[in-house]
């Protein structure tokens, strides 16, 4: 504990400042809306617990969790072994809780009638860091000889990290001449304005704006799969769908307010809060199994070797 913290902690009672119970959450900006909704509703029912939520990013969330600065980390990807080790070195074990399912939708202009389905290899060819593709016909000769206008989220978002990892094999690896924006609305406007545009963003946003752009089906080797809530939940829309996680430090899990909060998060009654944010939810038994995992304080990650097509329920149960 830092000396300043220690001194202040001792001085606090003297200053008579009551330290209310607090839960600190930080991490992925993708999971942020879910945690935010949960934090707000939980705070309403438990006014003496101060739940604060930030969105410094998945990586930032893990490093703060491992440093003991926060209690819960939001993550749009599975924790890495290196991060687990760093936490363990600080005496902090992590309890892994999948809470929702997200997908990335690849979209084109709604007037685009020449492409329905695209393979992962083709996506990679278009978006790779050293891509030489500049026209649709470079990818498939039967496509028009027009320039592809590319739109995508900026580097700060988990969506960016996820897309680049899934399509190009490495987080952050991407050609640099696309038009970036953190604002999905700007991306949609851009794609609407150019008949030969292509872009990607979260499924949640696409679901709300499905009238304005057209989503492509993705073929990862087993046929074309369209982005839909059902396909996301069953983990068949791959590689562009993924579970979203919340990681609780085992140390924090010993506190009653944190336990209440996790139970609140996974409660069936609050499922509609997740649906409100636009993400897909799993079946009730997944959440029941996840809650059991928390109550049993099972630490470590069950998703390190998670492959597309695997069952989330089995992973949580530890089968």
């Amino acid at each position: 504990m830092r000396p300043a913290h220690l001194a202040l902690a001792l001085a606090l009672p003297l200053l008579g400042i009551a330290s209310a119970q607090s839960i600190r959450i930080d991490g992925s900006s993708t999971v942020y809306p879910i945690s935010l909704a949960m934090a707000e509703e939980f705070s309403i029912e438990n006014p003496d617990v101060n739940v604060s939520v930030a969105f410094s990013g998945t990586g930032g969330g893990f490093s703060k969790l491992c440093a003991g600065e926060i209690d819960v980390a939001d993550a749009s990807r599975v924790v890495k072994q290196g991060e687990l080790d760093a936490c363990a070195a600080n005496g902090i074990e992590l309890i892994e809780l999948p809470v929702a399912a997200d997908a990335l939708t690849v979209v084109v202009n709604s007037g685009n009638d020449f492409v329905q389905c695209v393979t992962v290899e083709e996506l990679n060819a278009i978006w790779a860091p050293d891509s030489t593709v500049s026209r649709w016909s470079d990818v498939r000769p039967e496509w028009p000889d027009e320039e592809i206008a590319l739109f995508g989220p900026g580097t700060d978002s988990g969506t960016f990290e996820y897309f680049t990892e899934a399509v190009n094999g490495e987080a952050g690896a991407i050609r640099t001449d696309f038009f970036p924006s953190e604002d999905d609305n700007v991306l949609v406007q851009g794609i609407q304005s150019d008949p030969f545009a292509m872009g990607y963003f979260g499924f949640a946003y696409y679901a709300e704006n499905s009238g304005r752009v057209k989503a492509l089906q993705v073929d990862s080797g087993d046929g074309c799969v369209e982005p839909s809530a059902a396909n996301i939940e069953s983990n068949t829309y791959t590689p562009l769908s993924r579970p979203l996680f919340v990681y609780v430090s085992a140390v924090a899990a010993e506190r009653p307010e944190v336990q209440e909060f996790v139970r609140f998060y996974l409660d069936d009654f609050n499922r509609e809060l997740i649906a409100d944010t636009g993400y897909a939810t799993y079946a009730d038994d997944v959440y029941a199994a996840t809650l059991q995992r928390f109550e049993d304080r099972v630490t470590g990650s069950a998703f390190l070797d998670f492959q597309p097509g695997d069952s989330v329920l089995d992973a949580v149960r530890g089968d």
């Binding site: 410094s56 930032g60 900026g154 580097t155 690896a173 924006s181």
Partner: protein, 310 residues
Amino acid sequence: MTRAERTSDASLRLSPATRARERLVRGLLLFCAGLSVLTTFGVIAVLIGETAAFFADPAVTFREFFTSKRWTPLFADQSFGILPLLSGTFLVTAIALVVGVPLGLVSAVYLSEFAPAGRRRRVTSLLELLAGIPTVVLGYFALLFVTPLLQRVVPGLNLFNPLSAGLVMGFMILPTVSSISTDAMQAVPSSLRQAAYGLGATKVQLIFRVVLPAALSGIVASVVLAMSRAVGETMIVTLAAGQRPLFTLDPRETIATMTSFIVQAATGDQPAGSLASRSLYAVAATLFAITLLLNLVSQLVVRRYRERYE
């Protein structure tokens, strides 16, 4: 010794307790004054320390930093060329100066040569109010009012663009240019003015041939100072100009400035100590160096050239 010192300590016989108290008071006040020195030292130490660590990393070279046109610290393929941020800053600043300097100068002419005393006070208060508008409000105005307006007139104008930001920023620096230039113009001795009138000059001739040249040092200083403020301005550009590093001089393109990158990096996700987060300090150090230089130049201009007309 100041007059006060001589008078106070010399002939009075002070008790040891009183003398001790006086010394204590003096010490405390000295400490207060010293804090400003400490602050500057702190700023420089922090910036230099982290920037040194930044350049010590093998992935970064001075050459790349100053000549490369790619600033991608957050991509997998990191590239640290600051030129896009500099060009973005320059673009917005240039537009702001083009708007703010003429308007500010003309306001100063009005205030010092035309306005009666009561109106002068009111207009000065108005300009002070303008200067007091929080920049986040100006950024809101640029993004939500100016940009949609301009998009109807300028083809190909992006939602985030340096043109709107620069226009609004021009009004932000107008008071700076105006107040310093007004002071400079009013400092022109009346003997010069009367001499001009005596020679048959009109008011307009007086202004262009006597007052403006006489006040030139102050005017130049005000412009340099306004430039420094424009370079260091953060919220207007963060909200309205964009956060996409791009080396361009087209004011319709979305760009990033040094300051908007600093905000993006500080509110973003890089863990402390990583190369990407250290790049924040390197950019801040560059920004600090530029504004410091501009401030020193402005002070130098005033000091060097003011005496000529005394």
